[in-house]
Symmetry: none
Subunit: 416 residues, 2 copies
């Protein structure tokens, strides 16, 4: 079964608001096993709206429209749908009553144009709107279904959840089982190259890659009757992906790298502290974003100045003089000093040049050292990162976390 | 002149990401005097993509596509546009060189599929991408213009600003002068209410509001012949906005709250350190994201555990016992302790309950204290924030920064 989403509103075409409805509806329809191949946005113009509705009806089984159900002359969605499906607009007595009661309850006079909100294409099933005056409707005509929803998300979302989703579940009879595989340490194109035959021959489950800053995520999605069947279809594919990509796969259930590290620390009852220079608190902030992190994360120090590195972490001035703050030696002393001071099992450190200024021929922008101190020693990794300041800082955080993950899992680290 | 926006990507159709590119491009095109009557979103499917491109070309003078320029078999935008405009894809030697240099600089091997990123429709003008591997292009064919941009906003936005906008300005004969007014401490609907007559009668300049987490941004955009004229048209409107909104306006030139604070500190040759509990490094990270911040930002401490608060900042156990870590008293001692230890002019602190757990009837999730220590005393502000953990932490950071801004500007603070 296929659906198209049509968002109606000149404010969308002018870029005055971002179209969160299209995302919400797409997610919901996908999870119901209904394929969305097209989304369209069109303004409050009768001719263009009608053409868009007709075009969508020519391709899809279901069209879902949001917006244009209000009382003003600009609200034309019901007219356009009625026209495309050869229905008349008729006044629904129930809807009129609901409307009058609502205005009464709000203590507001109902201007005559509001009555348009009681008109729907003949044969519609109405959808309640406890959060606004515009009711929605579902119209089945020929072999098509048109679903008309109000534009404001605080009205559309409850209407979809309560009125539309139960009807569509019955219709589609499909469930989806979806797993997110997360990868750090291999670029998107290399991941896809390694999996190209799997991705080409995919049918059920499907494999969809998408890239975030420095990471690759693969979504494996199976159409199934229930979770057991979904798992049975997906697991062989997930295992094959893990086998091909190796230990750069850090989660097969959508957990972030920080989340994986937190989980491993808690499992081992171990504690962590972090010392940061160029990332300046970002590593610690990413960890603190995890609810319940206080069980393993003790503290962080954003020792941005040299003075702070010496005073807070015990980095030696001699080290800074001899090697500079961006050096393997400084990274090591930062990690060791943080671990000593915070009395934790592990300490991570990051020092580097995030740019745009401060780079030299020998130490270019993007040069970053991450270090991990444990009960035995400090391990350092040197990386050369590209991008703007924000990207370099974000990547540095991931490299630090990956160093910890590899230590906690007993995996090898390419050391300097 | 009319344009259509085509967003390419299965992740959009699946609802995995929200389509902020369509909003950004719509705003930009509208402000260039180019009418957008349709936006379309389509997945990585060759037949549907081609049909969508053809359909858009049949209606509009300009089509702007985002996404699908990458190295993988799913990236088909260039093929679809070339096909619709009867051009061949050819390898651009310059683009190949840029690509190889980029991979070399990143120290990464270039898999063969990456070379697809050097292929463009014959006759294209290439658009530089300093933030990614996929260059964009503009193709003029028959009386149509196709503009192909990469999908990631951090690549698309700079490419549009630097490469596309100047070309479209020439085409449309319209120049744009744009200023971003940033507001913290007043909700979007209150801002719009205060400015409703200005916004209603707007023509040139236009005023477009958009909300970020906890902030409101107004973009004032004037169509003009040159910058002087643009400024002359905009300044009276900007002054009127400032007059109506008052000291919640913290920038009229698009500078972030952290950026404004950094500027004020540098102006006064003053230094800052921060101590964080629930924000856990986010405040310090937001500051460190500003290039050159080392002139005024010395260090941060993410003292997440009580032990760290006592040992690193000198918070008294008696204070924690009597009032708890989330209290005005603790916030004060954190700020005073940080300032003393870091030897800075100012120190900010944040302590609160970010949730989802940890709330009580007396101290609910969202209760946050921010404090500022200066040479005379510590000032505390108590706020009650709503939303999820990430939102509460982000808002807490803004409240801390606003406390500093008000102190540095001599503005009043509503204290506890």
């Amino acid at each position: 079964m296929t659906a198209e989403i049509i968002s109606v509103g000149t404010e969308l075409l002018m870029g005055q608001i971002v179209n969160t409805n299209a995302q919400y509806l797409s997610q919901k329809l996908a999870s119901l096993g209904i394929n969305v191949y097209h989304q369209a946005t069109v303004g409050d113009n009768p001719a263009r709206l009608k053409e868009t509705v007709r075009h969508a009806l020519s391709r899809a089984d279901i069209i879902v429209l949001s917006g244009g159900l209000g009382p003003t002359g600009d609200d034309l969605t019901k007219e356009a749908v009625a026209d495309a499906l050869a229905r008349r607009l008729v006044r629904f007595a129930d809807a009129e009553e609901t409307l009058r009661a609502r205005f009464l309850a709000m203590g507001r006079d109902m201007t005559p144009n509001n009555l348009r909100q009681a008109d729907f294409p003949d044969g519609s099933e109405l959808l309640k709107n406890p959060n606004g005056t515009a009711q929605g409707c579902i119209l089945r005509a020929e072999d098509k279904i048109a679903i008309l929803l109000p534009g404001p998300p605080q009205e559309l979302i409850p209407m979809f959840e309560n009125e539309v989703a139960p009807r569509l579940e019955k219709l589609s009879g499909v469930k989806l089982y979806s797993r997110e595989i997360r990868v750090f340490g291999m670029g998107e194109s290399s991941v896809e190259y390694a999996l190209r035959d799997l991705m080409r021959r995919q049918d059920n489950p499907t494999i969809a890659p998408y890239a975030k800053t420095g990471e690759v995520t693969l979504r494996v999605t199976a159409r199934c009757e229930d979770e057991t069947m979904g798992e049975a279809l997906s697991l062989p594919v997930i295992d094959e992906i893990k086998k091909r990509l190796g230990d750069v796969v850090y989660s097969t259930s959508g957990v972030t790298l920080a989340g994986v590290c937190a989980g491993l620390l808690m499992e081992k009852n171990a504690t962590l502290a972090v010392a940061e220079s160029c990332t300046g608190g970002l590593l610690s902030s990413v960890l603190v974003d995890i609810p319940g992190i206080s069980d393993c994360f003790m503290e962080g120090a954003a020792t941005y100045s040299d003075l702070a590195k010496c005073r807070r972490l015990g980095v030696l001035s001699a080290t800074l003089d001899a090697y500079g703050a961006v050096s393997a030696e400084c990274a090591k002393e930062m990690a060791l000093g943080m671990r000593r001071g915070a009395l934790t099992d592990y300490a991570l450190s990051v020092t580097g040049i995030a740019g745009p200024g401060g780079g030299t021929a020998k130490k270019p922008v993007g040069l970053v050292y991450v270090a991990l101190a444990d009960e035995e020693r400090a391990t350092v990794k040197k990386v050369l990162l590209s991008g703007d300041r924000a990207r370099i800082r974000a990547l540095a955080v991931l490299h630090a976390l990956d160093l910890l993950r590899r230590r906690l899992c007993g995996l090898p680290v390419a050391q300097e």
